[in-house]
Amino acid sequence: MATNKKVVYVGMSGGVDSSVSALILKEQGYRVVGVYMKNWSKDLPGMKCPWAEDLADAKRVAVKLGIDFEVWDFEKEYHQKVVEYMLNEFKKGNTPNPDIMCNQEIKFKLFYERARRAGADFIATGHYARVIDISNPFATTGANGEASPVTTGASDEGREMAVALARAVDENKDQTYFLYRISDEALRHTIFPIGEMLKPDVKKLAEKNGLHNAYKKESMGVCFVGEVGMKDFLKEYIEVKPGEIREIETKKVLGYHEGAVFYTIGQRHGLYLDGEKGVENDGLPYYVVKKDVKENVVYVSKNLNHEAIWTKELKLKNIFLRQKSLNSAKEKDIKSSVLVRLRHRAPLVKATFDGKTLHFENEIKRPATGQSAVLYDGEVCLGGGIITE
């Protein structure tokens, strides 16, 4: 019974989202191959890496669905492309986002390429995001069902039409913030099976189909940092270097820290303040408002209105634009109106973008350098860049 079923390689993490993604693809009639990407397996003090359990969960689901299952080891590449990048950025005083890098370099590059070599027509992941057809200017982008891979006439070469990355229907879960840097080529060959679903429905579908991980606890943030937190993770790789904590207004030393690189703008916990009193002892907490990695000084303030915290402008670097329209805006230096997301799940804020700098309509709290600003036009993700200053 030789059929010409389309082949999808789906990245399965052992969580409910990617499990349901595989389930949906199977039901839609694809030949589905589940792949567990082994990116990290090292245990850290106080944090057992759950990779073996996650792998077993993924495989259990694959077996239940009756699909093939493989384990692809990207540990070396992940270390080079994601972990080292992350450590270097932290050392420079930035706060990078490893998940964005992981999608760009591992999932939608190495995994994508290997899947294609193995005969995949598409790859799929359990991200909350959508791929929409923008080839027809009269179509209202993102209408339900429109991006369905089965109805797009996808060929072995993926989708032939122009596609765009769009926010998930579940606005609460939307993960396009982490996906803005994935290549157009990969996107043309990507299916996000749960992009049009709400999370509670994903769980229900899992339960209805007897998937054992329907209510598995969600992994939060960077997979390998898990519960120990970024600071403890970094301490495994970056030496502790004591330095001063100063009040930004008075420059007085208020306490000491273990290394400016371990601190992030906006942080309020983990400050060892026991020196002289600051402006006035009113019991209000201090926030990190600035850090000088070169001098190893962390500046704090109680004043939430301090000028260091607020800004109307953000300069971006390593800009990755998804849409031709914005590219041309950049060339012509025409300011485009965009919606901006400065953190995963943060509310969208209005701004104009001139190709280098975001000008916000209202003042925003300054994000840490190294974080990403992701731009949208309506529900379409236009791309974004890394915040410099």
Binding site: M1, A2, T3, K5, V7, R31, K38, A52, E53, L55, A56, K59, R60, V63, K64, G66, D68, F69, V71, G119
Partner: protein
Amino acid sequence: MIYLDHAAATPVDKRVLEKMRPYFSDDFFNPSAPYLPAKKVASDYEAAKATIAHAIGAKASDLVITAGATEANNLAFSAASKKNSVLYLGTEHDSIRVVAKEHGGTAIKVLPNGLIDLNDLRNKITDETEMISVALANNELGTVQPLADVARLIREIKLDRLKRGIKRQLLFHSDASQALNLLDINVARLGVDLLTINSAKIYGPKGVGALYVSHGAKLKPLTLGGGQENGLRSGTENVPGVIGFAKAIEIAKEHINGNRKKYANLKKVFLDELKNYELINKKHSLDNFIVVCFNGLDAERLVFLLEEKGIYVATGAACAASKGVRSHVLKAIGLTDTQIAGSLRISLGETNDESQIKKAANIINETVKAEYQRIKNSHGNQ
């Protein structure tokens, strides 16, 4: 539920549990405390230890109680002081392999039938060798090793060393965790200096084991503190655990012959059903062990498929499966990667009867056929 993984864990026997029960909340005293009720607990503990010791032909004072076989194995290796001083069988459990490697140990080869290669052992023993560790029964294959032959060779070497005036010790250690309820174990007959035993595999509580230590062996303490267990493993005694272990070993000892007959029969019933498939190392294995290879299949998939049907089996060693590492044991006996990937370990036990085994074998047969069919279909689609 049909449980076919008794080599990984056994349920605690009800009689064992009953014996243990008073020692949790009633006779809870610290055996080292000075008042009379505590002295009674201390003497119950010593009596239980003596029961365990007698079951393997030893005295209570020869036993060091530990929290399981892994600890006992670690303690055993403390007898070997120098680097490159230990030899161990290539198919040993990780609690031997990892420790032996710390000592710069060298692995002894096994023959394709799973038995120790005595020639290789002879060649690898040098004047530096201080300890040789060979498990009585392997935990993945159930292979029973000819320890008497190893002991004979060791005696020969010792004699030769004495003739040449070499004073270095040569100790013989064996991990007998897997065999206590199926083989009649006697330390003198086995010729071992150190023997690891374990309660968890014989329907006793988990977290209790012991190391038999002959007089010649000088060990280093596993933990320091109050000096319990001859100063080798300080820490308040696990009284209910040891009481339970004693009862379990008593029952095991009593039923060795019955067990062997029962399991041999169940094994035959099982194999009749699965006769079309390749059996790994059936000749020299314990009566309750079956390792069957479904060539071309992924045994872990079978584990998950069978678990849905309430049948619990293992692929090689449980720890190997969960970490995605291929079994070093199956590799050591010369199996190919495909054979290793397709191998299931079935270990029978007290929870099984004939009708269960028939049913399980049937379901395994069907599941295997369905999986072969699935692979065929999936390839047809490409």
